[in-house]
């Protein structure tokens, strides 16, 4: 009790100044004592995480010539140019549709898949392996395969749909922005399913059987058991799955690049492919592209924080 009052009086923010400490140097040294052990990790993080972020933010303030040569400081001009891009607003809106749509569908389907993989049935091991396949295959390969399957003249999708009688004429799926976006979202869901369903499967396996037994004894039905017991207990797993998927899907480049390159124009671009195009395809402004990268970085931070807030995160994602 006495301690607390004293600490408040002395200013809790600077405990180093409390008279009991032997000497400032010694205290600093003691604080630094763990450094040899965590030092390498800090250096690694600084080198591969912090430094690129700083470099990115710095580049967004530079004037980079169309040839790629750095010409000097550019202030906020890159940001002005970026926000003056005609396609930007629709690209950002499309990014939201893309991320929310893909992640939502992925999680709903994965919940079902996770349940299936958790059930006991003959051949379960084979099914579990089969679900991993889209994960093991390269995303670019998957996207290219779908690109061919959706081809106007040779694609198998048109052949099948015509054979079944759903369409009369072949459809140039990837040429129409809306259709193309839906197909690409489907591919994104397809490649996100394995990871998500396995995270959910892992979550399902941590739910103790006794809880279910108790529910059965109390006479809860299947739906009630699922929504009142399984889902709440899956929360940590869902949280991890959702956040990792949001980040992955937001940053997803190969699917869109392999299937439409964001075209026609910027009509199927997300902010990730748009960023690439600003630097390497369009008028070739590396600085403006870096500005887009900074905006993307902030967006994804905000998106994740909003999500954490919405689900009332209290550190439960940590083990």
């Amino acid at each position: 009790m006495h301690d607390t009052i004293e600490a408040r009086g002395a200013g809790a923010a600077s405990p180093a100044r409390t008279p009991r400490s032997p000497s400032i140097g010694r205290r600093i040294l003691r604080a630094l004592a763990p450094l040899p052990w965590i030092g390498p990790a800090i250096i690694l993080i600084a080198a591969v995480v912090l430094w690129p972020v700083i470099e990115m933010a710095w580049t967004s303030l530079l004037k980079v010539s169309s040839s790629g040569k750095t010409l000097g400081f550019n202030g906020t001009r890159n940001y002005h140019d970026l926000f003056a891009e005609t396609g930007l607003v629709s690209v950002l809106l499309r990014t939201v549709v893309w991320v929310v749509g893909v992640v939502l569908v992925t999680i709903v389907v994965s919940l079902a898949l996770g349940q299936l993989l958790n059930a006991r049935f003959p051949g379960r091991r084979v099914v579990r392996w089969a679900v991993i396949v889209p994960w093991a295959a390269s995303v670019l390969m998957t996207a290219l395969t779908w690109n061919w399957m959706l081809n106007y003249s040779y694609g198998v999708v048109n052949k099948i749909l015509q054979g079944v009688g759903l369409i009369d004429h072949p459809v140039n799926w990837l040429a129409h922005p809306t259709q193309a976006l839906i197909w690409m979202m489907w591919v994104a869901v397809f490649v996100s399913l394995p990871f998500t369903s396995f995270v959910i499967l892992a979550g399902l396996q941590t739910v103790p059987q006794e809880v279910y037994e108790a529910a059965r004894v109390d006479g809860a039905g299947r739906a009630r058991t699922y929504f009142r017991i399984t889902l709440p207990l899956l929360r940590p797993a869902l949280l991890v799955a959702a956040i990792i998927n949001v980040i992955n899907v937001f940053n997803s480049f190969p699917i869109i690049w392999a299937m439409t390159k964001g075209g026609p124009g910027t009509k199927t671009d997300t902010s990730t492919t748009f960023m690439y195009k600003l630097a390497f395809v369009g008028s070739g402004s590396v600085g403006e592209s870096a500005a887009m990268a900074v905006v993307n970085f902030v967006l994804i931070l905000v998106l994740v924080l909003l999500y954490l807030r919405a689900v009332g995160w209290r550190g439960e994602a940590q083990p």
Binding site: L35, G68, S153, N172, K261, F280, G282, S283, V286
Partner: protein, 418 residues
């Protein structure tokens, strides 16, 4: 305790510094030797690499101690790679690319007079030299050129009852309608690639035959001119009437060239390299013929000439000038350059190679004849590189959107870049 800790930190720092030191050392190591040059070349087809390989082998045998490290880059990767080279200061010593003016503006290049012997310089065809200059100084060296002409499938034309290739835009439309009606199942009347691969070329070919283009008589940007708007409206109408392949805005040139080779397209703006690169691979007996590009009202047809360049980067204060110059002068020897262009199916860029190829390849004659009326991109303008990329990206959207607003956006891009 204190000494121990300091020791550990010191050891840790030494290790990290040592590591970064090593990586620095190895990256700058390759530039130490003034006789070794790095050459980044574009892949035109399957043969390109072996052509360069054998040229380099001969060069290295003739010039002891000199070495050329060849890197092949696909055209789809080229823009991104080149920009990264410049930004990370890893420019090759010689680059094969389709633009040079913004490098010249930023002072990255040797003027050609520094690296080419006077004989070679004077051997370059005069029609190309103008497009090799930035502000009056020549920086680009033409590697090869191509000219576009109108290709049509004689079988499809016969089936549709068309006796001669169309000369005017009205004839293009009526002929396309005939092909649509009678040309056969699954045949698209006109191939119109306005996708991201090369829409800047396709648009220019139609626009120049309507008196339009990228710049006006005095060299100012004129992308949003009425002639250009009319051109896009005409093409938009063709597409809407179902006279082209579906969705020109997402169709790449290679797609329609392939379909033409398969006999699925009646007519299109083809290129000199189409037989070597596309038709002969699929069906060498394809009954095609070549004609001048159709014009709006039947005037003198112009066509698009394209030259790709070699440029020499002034790396490390230009200390490799001697080696770069040796290799370039070697390449521009008549037989070397002629053989390269002949094998690749492109047109010559030097007078002496022109004589060799003109005799050896009769197919090239109509294209060489078309050169005097060919128009080139404004490659000497530093804004052209970025503009071309934006055109590729955005022009196709005019087919589904509003041509006028697309063109005025492009006009703004051009003016913003200079």
């Amino acid at each position: 305790m204190k000494r121990h800790l300091t020791g550990v930190i010191a050891a840790g720092l030494t290790v990290t510094l040592g590591l970064t030191g090593c990586s620095k050392g190895s990256s700058s190591g390759d530039s130490g030797d003034n006789k070794t040059i790095r050459f980044v070349a574009a892949i035109y087809d399957d043969k390109t690499k072996s052509l360069w390989d054998s040229l380099i082998k001969t060069f290295e045998a003739q010039n002891k101690g000199y070495k050329v490290n060849l890197e092949m880059v696909d055209w789809t990767q080229m823009d991104a790679k080149v920009k990264t080279y410049v930004q990370t200061k890893q420019t090759p010593d010689i680059l094969n690319y389709n633009a040079f003016a913004d490098f010249a503006r930023d002072g990255l290049l040797f003027p050609t007079s520094d690296v080419l012997s006077p004989q070679v310089s004077s051997d370059i065809l005069p029609s190309f030299v103008e497009g090799d200059k930035y502000k009056g100084t020549q920086y680009g060296m033409p590697l090869l050129s191509s000219v576009r002409l109108f290709f049509y499938n004689k079988d499809i034309f016969k089936k549709a009852g068309i006796s001669a290739p169309p000369k005017t835009w009205d004839e293009v439309k009526t002929d396309a309608q005939k092909i649509k009606d009678k040309g056969g199942k699954g045949v698209f009347p006109l191939g119109l690639p306005l996708g991201a691969e090369e829409s800047q070329a396709e648009f220019f070919m139609w626009a120049m035959n309507n008196g339009g283009g990228y710049v006006d008589q005095s060299g100012n940007w004129a992308i949003d001119s009425q002639a250009n708007v009319d051109t896009l409206n005409y093409l938009k109408d063709l597409s809407k009437s179902g006279l082209t392949q579906p969705n020109p805005e997402t169709t790449d040139r290679k797609d329609v060239f392939n379909q033409f080779a398969q006999g699925k397209i009646g007519m299109l703006n083809g290129a000199v390299f189409m037989p070597a690169g596309f038709i002969n691979k699929v069906n060498a007996k394809l009954p095609y013929a070549i004609a001048p590009l159709p014009t709006k009202a039947g005037g003198t047809p112009s066509t698009l000439g394209v030259q790709d360049f070699l440029v020499a980067f002034k790396n490390n204060g230009g200390k490799k000038k001697d080696a770069v110059s040796k290799f370039l002068n070697f390449f521009y020897q008549t037989n070397n350059v002629a053989n390269f262009q002949k094998e690749e199916g492109f047109l010559p860029v030097t007078k002496s190679a022109g004589d060799v190829i003109g005799k050896a390849v009769p197919y090239d004659k109509p294209f060489i004849d078309a050169l005097p009326n060919a128009k080139f991109y404004p490659t000497g303008n530093a804004a052209w590189g970025p503009l071309a990329n934006t055109v590729k990206e955005k022009l196709g959207t005019a087919i589904t959107g509003d041509p006028k607003s697309v063109l005025s956006e492009l006009q703004q891009t051009a003016q913003k870049n200079g």
